[in-house]
Symmetry: C2
Subunit: 442 residues, 2 copies
């Protein structure tokens, strides 16, 4: 949507809201619809080509308004998460469908998704061990629980461990910054020999530092064999899996219990919108309530009737699935794929420019929209370069450490980025580098 | 703002956004401002009388835009939380000021605020006990930790206990559904005698069921004496404390370590916006990180420089303080007080109507905007009445149980509610009651 159309549509929306408020006394306070009313009213998957804005707005009046905030808010979310899951070609087990045991939920952030997964896994293992040895207290079990992630995992994983009151161990990643079977297995055996109870693994697809990918096809089977919950954090990279050429990066998701990525990062949905799927919704729900009254209720919880307050930390919820519905329809799957591909292409263009300059080196494989690079030379030199780049305030780079190297990160992330921006950025960096090296010599 | 002005201002805002996006390449990617730039630019407290919309929008361009999303997002939040704290006449210790040890943060929900407080309290007590007995493991301590709330507390308190992996005990409330010293003290002594470690108390001001108030002036000193963290959950009632005539309900807040209420519930700020204050920010921050590098950073954390990601569960943040800034200025403190008072007046009007009808009884003291009432007679009769009311879909009531009684709740909560709505609702309920009683007789 260009600026002119945004002005027109935005003003129509203002009138839509005002009209609604002016006429609100004529509306019923409670909807007439029955549970499951919404799914038959909309397609089973996202459109390939864009829909018109008129069509979408008409559907709001026709499909959402009769279902008011509730149950429309819940039902649209379930269906949108199915749409998105299908776009990623997630295994069927993660979808809600009509009566599925799995399903998706919108969380506020990947941090919350990881925490929810860890809490669900914790409850599950405590319950399992207590069933086997009724004398065991929760405290005695928790003291021995241990979770794992790669040493490249996001800090929110460590935080989830602190909140959940369990140990979290970092598995040394390999030369490509990936968690591999051998390293995990080694720590696992040692921990088991010491009487610890491994219960939870977070695999990262697209790490924050350098967009590396843990080896799911190796790690997944170990998790299944050892009865550990496998959670996949693909916060950034997940959006790319809607493109067939990147989908292989998600191979092994079939071994996971839960999967999460942030459409607010790279799928044009405004912040916040973090998409999480689980294979067994009862595991997630069970993390918070164990009493019989509750279980009776959760028994009803299926693709048809979902009570999302048990799927998340807060009680209240915003109507975030509307954002997904609008974006998926206004772009169509093809439009979203084109957006991802453009970013990846531009990242490779930047990579090409860096590689042509013998002063620089590329520090990690460029797979998606992130390029890790540095000046050949000391960390100090690269810190100085970053200082010059960020002080100029024309572009902004966030650095990282890869092993003992200080590394610059060029991330393609603006909705409106074009080739000229990338080219200009490189010339700018190149010039600042020349200035820096000259100053160093003088 | 009436509907006509909303249409005009809303469309101006659409143009504001479009202009911003069209001109974005001319803006710097990183702001020039220094930490603490914002506070001197805006008044130290909220205006008593409304500001004009023009003034507010001009300030956005003048004060927010130069600070971009960061640090403006953080700094406006700190100052808005100070404004709101002053509106409530919170003790100085809860405010950030220039160099304060306390301060406020916007959470997404009261559930998250309670959980954050519980986690902070848990970390604090674990650290204290480990300092005294270095051999003690976290697991051994956690197994003995026990938290308390009234039996009227919200279910999110129980949930926080489950997530935090600690026991939570419900203290029997008194005849007015309030937690009192004697009941708390009794459970406390018994638990200590059994070797448990009391560490956390949630006092509720304005319970969900009947808007009762725990006795802070009794409970607070016990918490301080026993070194238990006192968290106050005033999710609904908190907004009313901006009125001098209701401020006494908050007396005793000086004993608390943390305090929370939801401006999104009753202070005209759109969902979500849950306001939480702590006396010692280091307690909250310390809940997540214990290593030296981190502590070095947190040392800088004061009223001047705040890193809110350590104050909350998610990592990312929305710019929610803008909502507060707009609302506080567009209504002025007097406008917000008038809004609260109108709702309370209407609740008392409904109470008066109920009391005039000998078929009904009032079930709990009406203090703010909630009226708990029921037909004299069986629970079954009241369940039937509720069924008739909600099936008619003219108004919607959510019931509760008070002890063994099924009770109807009439809540004043719409922004546009008028006396006529309340009168009409009562006539409607009265008529449905007549129909019901006639049907029962036949």
């Amino acid at each position: 949507m260009n600026s002119g159309e945004f002005r027109r549509r935005g003003k129509e929306m203002v009138d839509f809201v005002a009209d609604y408020l002016e006429g609100i006394e004529g509306r019923q306070v409670y909807p007439d619809v029955e549970p499951g009313y919404l799914r038959p009213l909309i397609p089973a998957s996202a459109p390939e080509e864009p829909d018109t804005f008129e069509d979408i707005l008409n559907d709001v009046e026709k499909i959402i308004m009769p279902g008011a905030a509730s149950p429309a808010c819940t039902e649209l979310e379930t269906v949108m998460m199915d749409w998105l899951g299908k776009m990623l070609k997630l295994p069927e087990a993660f979808l809600a469908g009509q009566v599925g045991e799995g399903g998706g939920v919108i969380q506020g952030s990947a941090s919350e998704a990881t925490l929810m997964a860890l809490l669900a896994a914790r409850t599950k293992v405590v319950r399992r061990l207590q069933a086997a040895s009724p004398g065991l207290t929760q405290g005695a079990i928790m003291e021995k629980l241990v979770a794992y992630s790669s040493d490249q995992a996001h800090s929110s994983v460590e935080r989830a461990g602190l909140i959940g009151g369990v140990k979290l161990k970092a598995i040394p990643s390999d030369g490509k910054f990936a968690m591999r079977a051998s390293a995990l297995q080694e720590v696992l055996e040692r921990d088991k020999a010491e009487g610890l109870i491994p219960f939870f693994v977070v695999a990262t697809l697209g790490t924050t530092s350098c967009c590396s990918f843990d080896n799911l096809l190796e790690v997944g089977p170990i998790c299944n064999k050892e009865d550990m919950w496998l959670h996949i954090d693909a916060a950034y990279a997940g959006s790319s899996f809607i493109c067939p050429e990147f989908r292989h990066l998600l191979n092994g998701v079939e071994f996971a219990d839960s999967f999460n990525f942030n459409p607010h990062k790279w799928l044009l949905v405004n912040f916040d919108c973090s998409a999480m799927w689980v294979k067994k919704r009862t595991d997630l729900i069970g993390a918070f309530k164990l009493d019989p009254v509750y279980l009776k209720h959760s028994h009803m919880d299926s693709g048809l009737i979902t009570d999302y307050r048990h799927w998340q930390l807060p009680l209240g919820r915003r109507f975030r699935s509307l954002k997904m519905w609008f974006v998926f329809r206004m772009y169509g799957v093809k439009g979203l794929q084109a957006y991802i591909r453009k970013h990846v292409r531009l990242a490779h263009e930047f990579e090409r420019l860096v590689r042509q300059d013998p002063r620089f080196e590329i520090c990690a494989e460029v797979t998606l929209g992130l390029v890790c690079f540095r000046l050949k030379g000391s960390n100090k030199l690269n810190e100085d370069l970053l200082e010059r780049i960020n002080s100029a305030k024309k572009i902004h780079l966030v650095p990282c450490h890869l092993r003992d190297k200080f590394v610059l990160r060029f991330a393609i992330c603006s909705r409106t980025v074009e080739l000229t921006h990338v080219q200009w950025s490189w010339e700018h960096i190149s010039q600042l580098t020349t200035d820096l090296l000259r100053a160093e010599r003088d």
